[in-house]
């Protein structure tokens, strides 16, 4: 809430006018650049995933098994790159392109795990592990339950 009745001298700019002024002076997010980068990075991550799926199929897994194995591999790679301090650089460059794939989910779990290790394994890592991924899990699981009920009722 903005200030009320300040003793003079006061600024000649009202909070309402300031809002327009602030918007003028705040640099716009570089949307086009960000979208292109996100597309490229997200695409590359998914292409790597596809290569891994193809590899697992070529060594004899069914396509369903290969997808599961590839997901596990990608999660491992995401965690490894986070641990090596590389994934945050990819994220800074790629934005949503590196957040949406499963590697981004892995990053959102591993990064608090590293961060809060110094506060101990129970109240540090244990309590803070899902600070980033928590909301996704809560609403993801809640939505899946609702969808499941609707599916059950329709059939």
């Amino acid at each position: 809430m903005a200030n009320q009745s300040l003793r003079k001298p006061t600024l000649a700019v009202s909070p309402e006018n300031y809002k327009t002024l602030a918007q003028q002076y705040t640099p716009k997010p570089t949307i086009v650049k960000n979208v292109i980068r996100a597309f490229a990075v997200g695409g590359i991550i998914c292409a790597i995933g596809q290569v891994i799926i193809n590899f697992f199929v070529s060594v004899g897994l069914t396509s369903v098994e290969a997808s599961t194995a590839a997901t596990a591999t990608m999660i491992f790679l995401g965690a490894l790159l986070t641990g090596l301090g590389i994934y945050d650089e990819i994220g800074k460059f790629g934005g949503a392109g590196s957040i949406v794939p499963v590697t981004g989910f892995s990053n959102s779990i591993v990064s608090p795990a590293i961060e809060f290790k110094r506060e101990g394994y129970v109240l540090g890592v244990g309590a803070k592990l899902f600070t980033v991924a928590g909301p996704v899990l809560v609403y993801g699981i809640a939505t899946s339950i609702v969808v499941g009920i609707i599916y059950f009722l329709i059939h």
């Binding site: 001298p9 002024l21 640099p27 990064s111 980033v132």
Partner: protein
């Protein structure tokens, strides 16, 4: 307030992290750490060590015995200002903990000067610190998480600065100060704190000029605490519309610390930012005679992660201190 017996700045000392050391002001700091931890087991301990090092640096530089120093005034950004309290545990002086967010250094200088001018102290040790990684995990996200920061966001400085004020001695003097009021122009974006603090800085400068019947050209340098590029432009514009031309002397510590190529977006922030720029760069330039009269306007964003989540806007504050060579 104008001091009748202006306190003398007897010594100043600054310690910064590696990124700050590589910046354009790198050579003006007393000490540059090689990494963010410097052998400590956590970033919080590192920040506290850094502040202690800066405080001790000023004491050693002035060559004054500890029992001649009556108070230590310090603050930082962490919950319950632990960096300062833990540093005070080692310095072992009567301690007054301060919280003014990034305005802490200017607030400390103003209060320290009041203590000395009022006759309550002979010498006062003032300091402030911030650490990029401790601030990041408290206010934002884990450091290894891959996220993009908006272009208006600022980078918290890893650094600690300290100043030793005295009643007697040779050196530049703190001649006046203006304690700011909390100004809130309803900015809610925590990634645009410069915009949230700019009206508070402008309000303090306006009141300071009004009280002392001065204008911007009376100063060689007017440095705001850490508005960043966006906030500095906004403060200049707001003052212009209020009939005050800031001229060329107006700059910002947050703009000075880093080079645009260091990928910090709108500039630097944090208690340590104005503390190290003042104790390092500005004090040096005063000593060599380049600057005769300087105003430091520390600017603070007085929000917490909780208040922001609850939808509150960000109240800003600006405290001004004037140094005459």
């Amino acid at each position: 307030m104008v001091f009748t017996n202006p306190p003398v700045i007897l010594a100043s000392y600054s310690v910064v992290g590696p990124k700050e050391g590589q910046g354009p002001l790198g050579k003006t700091f007393s000490k540059v750490w090689k990494d963010q931890l410097n052998g400590a087991k956590s970033w919080e301990v590192a920040e506290s060590n850094m502040l202690q090092e800066a405080m001790q640096g000023s004491i050693d530089q002035a060559g004054i015995a500890k029992d001649q120093i009556d108070y230590m005034l310090a603050g930082d950004l962490l919950n319950q200002i632990i960096s300062s309290s833990f540093a005070a545990r080692k310095i072992a002086l009567p301690f007054i903990g301060l919280y003014g967010a990034c305005s802490t250094m200017a607030l400390g200088l103003a209060l320290g000067s009041m203590l000395i001018d009022g006759g309550f102290a002979r010498n006062v040790l003032v300091g402030a610190s911030s650490h990029h990684d401790t601030a990041e995990r408290q206010f934002r996200a884990p450091t290894e998480q891959g996220t993009q920061r908006p272009m208006s966001a600022q980078w918290t400085v890893t650094g600690a600065g300290s100043v030793l004020l005295g009643r007697r001695g040779e050196g530049p003097r703190i001649s006046s100060a203006t304690i700011g009021r909390v100004i809130d122009y309803a900015e809610k974006d925590v990634n645009n704190m410069g915009s949230a603090m700019a009206p508070a800085v402008a309000d303090t400068i306006l009141n300071h000029f009004h009280d002392l019947q001065r204008k911007a050209t009376d100063y060689d340098l007017i440095a705001s605490g850490d508005l960043g590029a966006v906030g500095l432009a906004l403060a200049t514009e707001v003052l212009k519309q209020s009939g005050i031309d800031m001229g060329t002397a107006f700059t910002d510590c947050g703009v000075m610390v880093f080079d645009p190529s260091q990928d910090v977006h709108s500039g630097a922030s944090g208690c340590g930012c104005s503390a190290v720029v003042f104790a390092g760069n500005v004090m040096r330039r005063i000593k060599v005679g380049e600057l005769k009269r300087v105003m430091l306007v520390g600017s603070g964003a007085l929000h917490s992660p909780t208040s922001s989540l609850q939808g509150e806007s960000i109240p800003g504050i600006g405290h001004a201190v004037v140094i005459d060579a």
